[in-house]
Each structure stands twice: as structure tokens, then as C-alpha cells.
Amino acid sequence: MANLMEQVANNVFSIVPMQAEPNAPRSSAAAVSHEKLAELRLVEAARSGDRAAFTELYQQYARMVHGIVLARAPRSEADDLVQDVFFFAWRKIHTLRDAAAFGGWIGMIARNRAMDYHRQKTETEELTDTIANTLVDVRAEKPQQQMEAMAVLDTIKALPEAYRETLILRLVEGMTGPEIATRTGLTPDSVRVNLHRGMKMLRERLAGYAA
């Protein structure tokens, strides 16, 4: 195991400086690789049943999972869904082969869990007039800023999937582009394009509502 970790560490140290932008300081690349190495150790430990390691992974990834879930499910359910996702991940972490793919893996669980939630909801509960009226009443009680926030969130949720998820991670969860790329496993270029195009589309739609 120690040899394996050393090999992984060597790979990380050899790859990260090449991937970093030319102008980026060398110390930040080293910091990223140290962070990645620490994360790999946490995943390895969690796979062997270490609760503390898994809890630390939860603290690191909860924001991302919350953002992914919020992009698909009602915000009132998002917190519970985050718990569900990590609960499921804890039970299934032994099936994760590549420790470096933890971010992408848990992101996929979050997407599937949010879709399952929708499937179950549509099977069991339809939006009746009473529920709809209650929602309208709740909205009427909210102050103007909250109403605006909800309208913006709804607009983001109506965007194409790739843009909606990236924008929520950036604007709601406050993650930076490089952080989103590292956590989700997407390339920085993809994240940058999604942010740029998503923001452009959001601006257009919000301008349309204002007019």
C-alpha cells in the first residue's frame, strides 16, 4: 500500500506542474498536488472503513454535492439528498476502483439520486391546487430580495444541464472555476466554457424577464 501511495504521489507530482498554467506560480501547483495526495490518502482510508477519513471527504465535497443536487431537485430537499448521497457513497465506497476519481464518482451518485427523487415524486405525488396555492402564499410572504433570488434560481435551473450545474456551483456555492474543475473531474477549459456560455444565457433570460 505504501508503495502504491508513493507511485501515486510521484505521478501527481510529475503531472500537475505540466497541467498548470505557464504563468501560475510553482508553489500553487505543489499545493494542489499536496491537496490531491491528501485526498487520495483519505479515499484509500475511507475504502478500508475509516469513518473519520470519510467524514473529512464529506466536508470537502458536500458543497459540490449540494450544488449538483440543487440544480435538479427542490432546495427544501437538497440538504436531505446530500446526506442520502454520502450515506450511499459510504456503503458503496468499496466498489470505487480509482481513488483519484472520487469527485466524479460522487458527482454521478448525486445526479442519479436527484433523478431518483424526481422519479419517485412524480410517481407518488402530483401538484394539486392546494399545494400550488400554499406555494403561492409562501412566496407572497417572502421579502422582495428573496423573491428575486428564487426567480434567479429558477431561471438558472431552466438552463441546459451543463450550464446550470456549473453556474450553481459558482454563484450559489461560491466555488471558483479551477475548484469546480478539480472537484467534478471536468477539464478547466470545459468549466470555463460552461461558465461563460451559461452566464451569457442567464443574462439574456434575466434581461428578457425585466423587459
Binding site: G49, Y58, Q146, P178
Partner: protein, 180 residues
Amino acid sequence: MSLKGDDMNDNYLWDKAGEPDEEVQHLESLLSEFRYQPRPLVLPEATPKKMIFSYTNLRYAAIAAVALLALGVGIWLSNRTAKNMPEVATTSPTPTPTKALEQLAAPTPNVAPPTPASKLVKQFQTAAPKAQFAKHSAKRAPRKSRDEEGEQAKEKVLYALQITSEKLNLISKKIQADTN
């Protein structure tokens, strides 16, 4: 990136660096109320199962592969020996007594000599049951030898299985000794 030259400055949107974009800042502050609020993680008491592909599982997989190989070789060998054994040929069956009696009881023709066409019909009528009989007897005769071959093959397979199970026992004992 093809974003250069675009009128929108997305540096702030990308990594919060550079000149702040007022609209993005406004959206950030507006949407911050939906941000994740840290909560303690509640995990079940039971620890997750160990990895599927451990070295022990690999050993068991190797043992199973060896057992399957031994079984396959056993079956192949039994088939091979069965093919090499001489077959009992039965091409000309003996006529049955009932057939002979029927021929004797049949009236002798005292009319004109048979034409070539009637000869052919007669030949066909007599040859058809013979062929059927030959077919049946050919099936019946080697059945005995096949049963014997089957028994032999069965014994060989059982013997191979015995050897394999003994080997498996030995290997599992060794593994247990190693783990202890």
C-alpha cells in the same frame, strides 16, 4: 481558449480574480442564501464491505480456474478414449422369423412372368423394411458399448474431481496457514 476578444470580462467569473463584475457579485450575494449550510454527517454503524478484488479473492479465483481446467481435461480425455474404441458394425441384419413365414405363406404366382417395372416395385417393397430394420439395429447394437464408454468416462470424471477436491483442500489449508 476562444474567449479572448469577447466583450465580457470573465476573469472574475472564472476565479474571482481581476476587476469584479458587478452583475456577478450581485447574483452571488442574492443566491448566497441557498448556499450549503454545513451539517454533521450521520453514518450507519456497520462499516462498508471490503474491496471485491482482494488477494484472497484472487487466490480463490485461481483455484476455481484450476478446478474448471481439470474438469475440462477430464471430459476431453474421456471423449478422446471413447472415440478411439472400435465400433461394432452391423450392416446386414438377419431376417426375422415372422418375415420368413410371411414369405412362405404368400401364394406363388402362376401367371405371366413379372415385368421389369413390377420387379422394381417388388424390390422396393422388400428393401424398405430391411433398411428400416438395419437403421434400428444399427442404433441398438452400439448402445451397449456406449453405455460402457459412458461409465468409463463417468469414472474418469469422478476421479478427476476427487483429485481436484483434494488439491483444493490442500490449497485452502495452505491459505489458512498463511493467514494465521
